[in-house]
């Protein structure tokens, strides 16, 4: 197997034009797409207009008074009471939320109006509003009690929308920012460790706000292009077998009594190495120039390497299958056409040409049946959650895909009749 592997690597390397093209084309494409779409999104940012209804049921003034009364009743020294009240005054949630929503950078694209509950509901239903945010009664008091006194959470902010959209997502991110800001401040200033540490903050809504990272367009381009080009390497390897077949080198290999497994292993190993190197180089270069993945932790990158490695394994299996088909088919142009078709189909279904998120769920599910589609799903999950446990099943599916493809390749591998 080592001989085949070594030979295939040298053959790849000596084809300098093809080699460099395979390595750098994805990088160039990602950079170009990023700049092209970055421009689009920048202009989009200004045109996004979130129409938000605010249903204000909270009465911050009365809540603050009630909170002061609560503190006064506590068996604390006067200095401690003053400190708690001062903390409450600084981080009074209603004021913090108000300031956040009225930041100058939001003014141009966040269209807010205060409405009653009935008005908000009807306007969202009629499409006059993207969403409404309900700040419930006693919200200020509950947040202060939870954040400063460590009491249980009562009232929750909720966001209601007719349908999930980019605008609603943006709004969620804003609220998330608000929650994080409060969390951070309370945690920083809470001196009473025994009283529960970080306060639980009132959050909620139609879409629950979570601490997951966003999956950016730049990340999408990087992963989509890198995985698609890897699939093309499987085709390239198979097409190099065309030369081996046409020039009768393959006959010479058969005459040496070499096992099909060794031959295919050589193809797979060289595909694996080349693909792995291609994807890693793509990730490294784009990371260096575009900072695609903001998380620089070892945990994140080791997970990424693991996911990519399993994906590349499936691509190597695919190259074995393509190689076998090439050896079986008499019409080599037809073989090339079939492989291109398969890869294009995989690219289409797996979301390598455009994101599937906007398509019906059935298409998104179909994408998970392709290695590139599944790996995108896995990577999105990894970027957002970094949970090793979430990787197990999809990676096992990919290993299973590889095993099946390899088994089929070995069964179909021609012994002599189809040479």
């Amino acid at each position: 197997m080592w001989s085949f592997f070594k030979k295939d690597l040298i053959v790849f390397w000596r084809d300098r034009k093809g080699f460099l093209l395979s390595l750098f084309l994805p990088i160039v494409l990602i950079v170009v797409l990023n700049f092209a779409y970055a421009g689009l999104f920048t202009s989009d940012d200004n045109s996004v207009n979130i129409r938000l209804g605010i249903v204000q049921e909270d009465d911050p003034v009365s809540d603050m008074q009630e909170f002061e009364a609560l503190v006064e009743e506590m068996e604390l020294m006067e200095e401690e009471k003053d400190e708690l009240l001062q903390q409450a005054a600084i981080h009074e949630p209603g004021t913090v939320l108000y300031h956040m929503l009225h930041r100058p950078e939001f003014k141009d694209w966040l269209d807010m109006r205060e409405l009653s509950m009935e008005e908000a509901v009807s306007q969202v239903e009629e499409g006059k509003l993207d969403a409404y945010m309900r700040i419930p009664a006693r919200f200020t008091l509950d947040v202060l009690r939870a954040g400063i006194l460590g009491d249980e959470v009562g009232a929750l902010i909720s966001i209601h929308a007719e349908e999930y959209s980019t605008e609603v997502q943006t709004l969620q991110e804003m609220i998330n920012q608000f929650v994080n800001s409060l969390n951070f401040q309370f945690a920083l200033e809470n001196t009473n460790e025994s009283n529960g540490g970080e306060p639980v903050l009132p959050i909620g809504g139609v879409e629950r706000i979570e601490s997951s990272e966003a999956y950016t367009m730049a990340q999408y381009f990087t992963i989509a292009v890198a995985t698609l080009f890897s699939l093309f390497i499987a085709q390239t390897v198979a097409m190099k077998t065309v030369t081996e077949k046409r020039e009768r080198v393959f006959n010479r290999i058969v005459l040496s009594n070499s096992s099909p497994f060794a031959f295919l292993m050589g193809k797979m190993a060289s595909t694996f190495c080349f693909c792995w190197f291609q994807i890693m180089l793509t990730l490294m270069v784009t990371q260096l120039f575009l900072n695609i993945f903001p998380d620089h932790s070892i945990q994140f990158w080791s997970g990424l390497v693991l996911i990519i490695s399993v994906f590349v394994l499936t691509v190597s299996g695919l190259s074995a299958l393509f190689t076998t088909i090439t050896l079986r088919l008499q019409n080599l142009n037809a073989a090339n056409g079939i492989f291109s078709l398969i890869i294009m189909l995989m690219g289409l279904l797996g979301g390598s040409f455009f994101p599937l998120q906007g398509l019906p769920v059935v298409f998104q599910k179909m994408g998970d049946w392709t290695p590139n589609g599944l790996i995108q799903t896995v990577l999105i999950d990894w970027i957002q959650n970094r949970m090793y446990s979430n990787l197990l099943m999809p990676l096992l599916v990919l290993v299973l895909f590889f095993s099946i493809v390899l088994a089929v390749s070995l069964v179909l591998f021609p012994r002599r009749e189809s040479l």
């Binding site: 080592w2 001989s3 085949f4 070594k6 030979k7 040298i10 053959v11 000596r14 084809d15 030369t243 046409r246 020039e247 009768r248 080198v249 006959n251 010479r252 290999i253 058969v254 005459l255 040496s256 009594n257 070499s258 060794a262 002599r416 009749e417 040479l419």
Partner: protein, 310 residues
Amino acid sequence: MLETINLSKTFKDKKAVDDVNLYVNKGESVGLLGPNGAGKSTTISMISSLLKPTSGDVLFNGNSIIKNPAEIRRVLGVVPQEIALYEELSAHENLNFFGEIYKISKGDLESRIQEVLEMVGLQHRQKELIKTFSGGMKRRINIAAALLHQPKVLILDEPTVGIDPQSRNHILETVRKLNEQYETSILYTSHYMEEVEQLCDRVYIMDHGSIVASGNKSELLSILSNDDTFHVQLSKRSEKLIDAVRLIKDVRQVDETENGLRIIAKKRSHFLSTLVHGAEKEGVEIIHFQMEIPSLEDVFLHLTGKSLRD
């Protein structure tokens, strides 16, 4: 050592090889001649275990290679008509790769590579990529690759097609050396009759998938008709002389040529004295007299109705 028994191959409805029986003894050099499409390559593919016959068998030392192809592959060297090498690799890298997959031990491999390179006269070019070689040099490395594992039987499929005379001589010399010094059995196909005449002890002639004749050179030549052909150059034309020759017993045909006569007569016929006497009588001087010696090319033409290069 190697023999085929009623070997046949049918592709769809077309019979490419039909009941071919041939054998190659140990240390023997055998030629396989035939026009394009005669079935030579198909026969060779079956003998080298790359193609399964529709019927018949190939025996190596009495054992069927159809049932156990691995046995013959170990001792068989095949030089295909195509350049079965990696163009992007150097000559040494190619030989190293083929040597490794033939499982030649690491210790022996380098010396074997140098040995075969020396044999084909390309030791000094071993580091260069195959794609930079001339056609002749490629063919020599093509042969070297088939010799690495020291095969007992070497099959060469038109190994000298389209190459320069120097490379051609080198190849022929290599094959002769292998046959004479190492007692390698050779099965050689070629379009060049003179190569087969030079190299081979016996020749099989194939046409339309069948063996139409076989034997050594003299046996094949005897296939030709029982006539001899003579060319007579005369000082002048004489109608009476021509008529006189036509009347000689055993003379079958007399044709006028540019400067004399072409006479076809029965083998060992005694017409020469009559011809000389007749010429003297007519005052015609015989300037030159030559008997035409038939070649294998003539035999081939006679048997297949085609020239070898058709």
